[in-house]
């Protein structure tokens, strides 16, 4: 199935891209998510989601199929599995940044494939909770952007995404241009992770809600 989300951050597109590329900065904005490892352009992490009495933990991996800074487009492939169950999820997340002058609109379209029990159920609450989590994330992101704007402004211009100009699987740990500050170095080391870190929890949250829905509707039989 396909899910669509959209949010706006109040910085120009290039800056938005760069901020989103700064994993360390935005990771705490996604509730319940942990990044376990970074291996080239592949990332592994866990997401713990709680909805009332329901708790689900997902462990998964993702990597960038496309990260095109010029076009403002990133595509992530993610797959995960419940830590304490047999459900699996596969997602392809298409992110498009739109230049709106001083702000950037971010469109996220997710193709979601779920196997196991959750697959029996439709979207339902999934969209609602996904929106709620995304709302929480973007508010936090905005706050981070405004707080970090002065610090992050100088080094973020020549961002790592440039290497993605060649198609296929881009090498996101690109050749680093000279960087004056520690923060910029962080940016390079964690290059490529940001959108993943942002969407993997969303995917996990959406999956969790699937399970919720499944439970609720199952009782109808």
């Amino acid at each position: 199935m396909q899910l669509e989300h959209q949010f706006t951050v109040s910085v120009p597109r290039d800056q938005a891209w760069d901020v989103l590329m700064n994993v360390e900065q935005i990771a705490p904005c996604m509730p319940g998510a942990t990044l376990d490892s970074v291996d080239g352009d592949e990332f592994a992490g866990r997401v713990k989601v709680k909805v009332g009495p329901i708790q689900v933990t997902y462990a998964g991996k993702a990597h960038f199929e496309v990260a095109d800074k010029e076009a403002g487009r990133a595509v992530i492939s993610a797959s995960g599995r419940e830590s304490r169950g047999s459900g699996t999820v596969k997602a392809t997340i298409h992110t498009q940044l739109h230049d709106q002058g001083d702000s950037t609109q971010v469109d996220v379209v997710t193709d979601l494939d779920i196997t196991g029990r959750p697959a029996q159920f439709g979207r339902g609450v999934m969209v609602e909770v996904g929106n709620k989590i995304l709302g929480q994330f973007t508010n936090c992101l905005e706050a981070q952007i405004h707080a970090g704007q002065t610090a992050a402004a100088a080094p973020t211009e020549a961002a790592p995404g440039e290497a993605a100009a060649e198609g296929g699987a881009p090498k996101l740990a690109a050749v680093p241009p000279p960087r004056p500050s520690a923060e910029a170095i962080d940016l390079l080391e964690t290059a490529g992770a940001p959108v993943l870190k942002r969407v993997l929890p969303l995917v996990g949250a959406l999956l969790a809600i699937f399970l919720v829905w499944r439970l609720v509707r199952r009782r109808s039989h």
Partner: protein, 285 residues
């Protein structure tokens, strides 16, 4: 499946239950009738570290008349609620709606308080509680406090109770004379959650509808009141046309979800049709 492991206590007083919850931390959970929670455990969708079974607390059961309100203990079963003469006399909508909950087996174990605390917008009783404007009395480490129904249902499966609070009793206000009621529930199979449900309370005097309260089941992530329809009904003539015109606004301000059973626009349509039926029946039109 069988549930994952958990510790279990069965306190015999509200204070002991609160202490157990507080001591158990974030993953301690109250067990009432278990009709909503046990399936979650068995499907391994919840992993409480400690279950605090409040089934033995006599103080939480029973229904009594408290002057301007009925006080219903949180652990009173659905069966007890719908057969109680006090409820039938003073809170007829509650008895009528409870009769539509699940099936007799569930109604003999499931509880009124548990149903409200579970905060499922697709459950019948949260919408009824919202229509009545009940007050929920919860006990926590800091003592007891009262929460209005309008502030109780926060989100899908989430109430405004803290994790170390337990719902003790519910005060259902007596509305007095002149109030009619009706619960209209739409479902495809005999024992099912409502696709959409409408709980209507209408005060009628002669040819005018003085006031109406309309609670909607399964029209969002929490139960909601059909505020626009209520405003349109206040002071309206008690005629089918006026009711239909007001019911046409029933879905305003709601945010129903689409799922395998119904799309959002169909739910909005159902809300309008069922509100017209429920309000009409409650107003005696």
């Amino acid at each position: 499946m069988i549930p994952a492991g958990f510790d279990y206590v069965r306190p015999s007083s509200v204070e002991d239950a609160v202490a157990a919850l507080a001591g158990g931390g974030e993953d301690a959970k109250v067990l009432g009738g278990g009709q909503s929670f046990l399936p979650l455990l068995r499907l391994r969708m919840a992993y409480p570290s400690l279950l605090v079974d409040v089934g033995r607390i006599g103080q939480m059961r029973g229904i009594r008349d408290d002057g301007d309100a009925l006080v219903i203990g949180a652990m009173t079963t659905h069966h007890q609620v719908l057969t109680d003469p006090l409820v039938r006399e003073h809170a007829g909508l509650l008895a009528a709606a409870t009769a539509t909950v699940a099936d007799p087996a569930v109604r003999h174990r499931g509880t009124f308080g548990g149903s409200l605390a579970h905060a499922d917008p697709a459950g019948d009783l949260p919408a009824v509680a919202l229509a009545y404007g009940v007050q929920l009395v919860v006990a926590g480490p800091g003592g007891r406090r009262t929460i209005d129904a309008a502030d109780f249902f926060v989100d899908y499966l989430q109430s405004s109770m803290a994790h170390d609070e337990v719902l003790v009793e519910v005060r259902v206000p007596k509305l007095g004379a002149g109030w009619g009621f009706h619960y209209e529930k739409f479902q495809r199979t005999a024992q099912a959650w409502a696709l959409v449900g409408v709980a209507a309370l209408v005060k009628r005097s002669n040819g005018t509808i003085e006031e109406a309260r309309v609670g909607l089941t399964n029209m969002g992530s929490t139960p909601v009141r059909a505020a626009a329809a209520e405003a349109a009904l206040a002071g309206a003539n008690a005629t089918a046309e006026a009711v239909a015109a007001a019911a046409a606004r029933a879905a305003e301000g709601t945010n129903p979800s689409s799922d395998l059973h119904a799309a959002a626009d169909y739910r909005e349509h159902l809300a309008r049709v069922l509100t017209r039926r429920a309000v009409g029946a409650a107003a005696g039109i």
